[in-house]
Symmetry: C2
Subunit: 161 residues, 2 copies
């Protein structure tokens, strides 16, 4: 069975237990920016309820133009005012570098991507760089941002100072 | 209390119940691309377990260069081969248009964003456009993609044909 068919089937159970509708504006006025990693169920990890927070995720949880677009909409159109970053240990982006990854894609597809993978080595440093990029954005209404690292072997979240 | 402090506190409970570590490669070899909307806890909605799937989310769940970057890493470095899109009813991006949103940001910050908000009117059409953009990407190893709309008032997921 295709994965989407399993998901559509599983969703029937969810719909039966559906807790009811919530407002579109996040109740806790916060947006979370996190890595796409499969081991981070953010609602559980952060204690979020349905309707609490916007959730923005990409490879690495890095700050790209698309993340700034999403945060700008989150703040200007939907009222959020805090930003929380969630990076994590054992990230796939720590096992490569931008040149090696572009080589891999080019060898497999015949096309070299014009964008960088955004690989990194030091996760704490990557969180600090993400905080810096958010603080520098001229489009946000609030630059209140703090960052964390999630340990995928213990489930513990640690703030990066 | 800042929202991050509430999250760090809630995480202590999560860490106590932590189900154990999982491999970095998604077990179900699937990547989900969804909207950042606060009302969509994807693990519950789709019946995902920790470690099953990559989760990529932005405003609208639209296909941007950053989403293609994330999907390319997901497939080339971490072995996923299917893509599932989750858009939803009552999206914030259906209540504005790109020019009005840029006006709003410029009036509030003095700076007009150089990127489009990616507002849309017809959610089914937006899913089809996202499917088209993924199929056209030359960097992916697999273009197996299907799309859905999540009804935020009932909890039901519907495939877009």
């Amino acid at each position: 069975m295709a994965e989407i068919d399993r998901m559509l089937e599983a969703n029937q159970q969810w719909a039966k237990e559906f807790p009811g509708s919530k407002p579109v504006r996040p109740a806790r006025k916060v947006a979370v920016v996190a890595c796409m990693d499969a081991r981070i169920p953010l609602f559980g990890v952060l204690g979020l309820e349905v309707g609490d927070a916007h959730v923005i995720r990409n490879a690495g949880g890095v700050i790209t133009e698309d993340v700034i677009r999403s945060l700008t909409i989150s703040q200007h159109a939907l009222g959020t005012r805090e930003i929380v970053l969630v990076h994590h240990t054992e990230c796939g982006l720590q096992t490569t570098d931008d040149v090696s990854f572009a080589d891999t894609v080019e060898q497999a597809t015949g096309r070299r991507p014009p964008w960088a993978a955004r690989a990194f080595t030091d996760v704490d440093q990557d969180v600090r760089e993400s905080i810096r990029l958010i603080r520098e954005s001229p489009y946000l209404l609030s630059h209140e941002v703090r960052g964390t690292v999630y340990d995928v072997t213990t489930g513990r979240l640690r703030e990066v100072s």
